[in-house]
């Protein structure tokens, strides 16, 4: 037992470090390790990873809060959509076939990898000429943040609020169904659909992940999907790992880490999809 405890602690530590650096919540890393590597039922892997998401999110939010980077209004407004989606997703896991979950999870890994590659290739700047739409103004969603790299205060407007809201419902649903933070979807909704700058988008996504995950975690907690012997060492490992990760991030170029990570994620994603079709590679 001590061996598997130490193993889970180590897995958590690594997931925490990479999760914090890459901003993906740790759930995407833990689920394949637990199911493919340790042969755990995907239902329990999902329960463990939702705990991982909350641990990473709470840790990262503490760091971001000091920077005034996150947009609390955008977070809370969109959180209506993600929490409703998350509860629906969590309730449905019991009814959905495991193979379908594997497939969905694999597809999401491939999608996230695609996003990472896109970010690696593009040299896009945050400078966008965005007109706030009426709804955004009415909801007071437009914001401002201090960009340390540019050394200036950046004001920004928000667009296409209904589109972002719909996307967030999907992100919440995936999060509840698969026990992930679906940070990639959240950033996509804010950054691509609503045209928020990337930095406040990912900071806000980090905060939202924890709240979304909390909504579905309650369902998992009471239905016995969260196994204490598995979730506990992972949670401790992740909390420590996330602390180390945020320290490392200050010294490392995220670009380098992404380059190391892309092939690993792609491989795991394809393996999971194959498992969804009943093939073990």
């Amino acid at each position: 037992m001590t061996y598997s405890l130490l193993l889970l602690l180590g897995v958590g530590l690594l997931a925490g470090i990479f999760g914090a650096i890459l901003g993906i919540g740790g759930g995407l890393i833990i689920t394949p390790v637990l199911t493919l590597g340790m042969g755990l039922d995907i239902k329990y892997a999902i329960g463990a990873s939702i705990i991982a998401v909350i641990a990473t999110s709470s840790g990262a939010t503490i760091a971001y809060l000091k920077d005034d980077m996150l947009n609390l209004r955008v977070a809370m407004f969109l959180e209506i959509a993600t929490t409703v989606g998350a509860v629906l997703g969590a309730v449905l896991t019991g009814l959905v076939h495991a193979n379908f979950l594997y497939f969905l999870f694999g597809a999401l890994l491939v999608f996230t990898t695609y996003n990472m590659i896109r970010k690696l290739l593009s040299k896009a700047s945050d400078a966008q000429n965005v007109q706030a739409d009426q709804l955004a103004t009415k909801l007071n969603l437009n914001g401002t943040y201090y960009d340390k790299a540019l050394k200036e205060q950046v004001d920004y407007q928000v667009q296409n609020v209904p589109g972002g809201f719909t996307m967030m419902f999907g992100a919440g649903f995936a999060s509840g169904l698969l026990g992930i933070g679906s940070g990639a979807f959240k950033v996509l909704a804010m950054d691509t659909i609503m045209h928020m700058p990337l930095k406040p988008s990912s900071a806000t996504s980090n905060l939202m992940m924890g709240v979304t995950a909390a909504a579905s975690a309650m369902v998992y907690f009471f239905n016995g999907s969260i196994k204490p012997g598995i979730a506990a060492p992972l949670a401790i490992g992740i909390l420590v790992g996330a602390l180390i990760g945020t320290r490392i991030m200050e010294h490392l170029k995220p670009r380098l880490i992404r380059m190391i990570f892309v092939p690993v994620m792609l491989y795991l994603g394809i393996q999971m999809i194959a498992k969804g079709f009943g093939v073990t590679i």
Binding site: M1, S58, A90, N140, A214, M218, F222, G229, A235
Partner: protein, 125 residues
């Protein structure tokens, strides 16, 4: 202008408070989970028959009183799940101080959804 400055200072204070509450929540839950893990290693098992774990409030409470490892861990995990919820509660307070009534309502709605989620989870088990 003076009023605006004092308001900004007040907001910063609230944000610092949110940060502190989150940190305390995370540390306390980590300590409880850690204690459960130590108990588990000392006992060599979770304190429950194979495949069984406490999920209801009463069984967890009784288990914690008896220092059963799994019950202590579940309590810690429950506290960890509560931290983001606590954050939502404090945000309602922050918006109230800003006199932003629209967002007091929006954030309250999020809190209500979270509470409904717990009730669904509790009744569904």
């Amino acid at each position: 202008m003076i009023q605006k400055n004092s308001k900004a200072a007040e907001m910063r204070q609230v944000e610092r408070l949110i940060g502190r509450i989150l940190r305390i929540g995370v540390i306390v839950s980590a300590l409880v989970i850690g204690l459960g893990l130590i108990l588990m290693v000392m006992r060599g098992n979770g304190g429950y028959p194979n495949g069984i774990q406490p999920t209801g409030f009463r069984t967890i409470f009784n288990g914690v009183m008896a220092l059963k490892p799994y019950a202590v861990i579940m309590l810690g995990l429950f506290l960890l799940i509560l931290t983001p919820t606590l954050r939502v509660v404090v945000s309602i307070y922050a918006f109230a101080i800003e006199k932003d009534h629209l967002y007091v309502w929006i954030t309250t709605l999020v809190l209500v959804i979270l509470i409904i989620a717990s009730v669904i989870g509790y009744l569904g088990h």
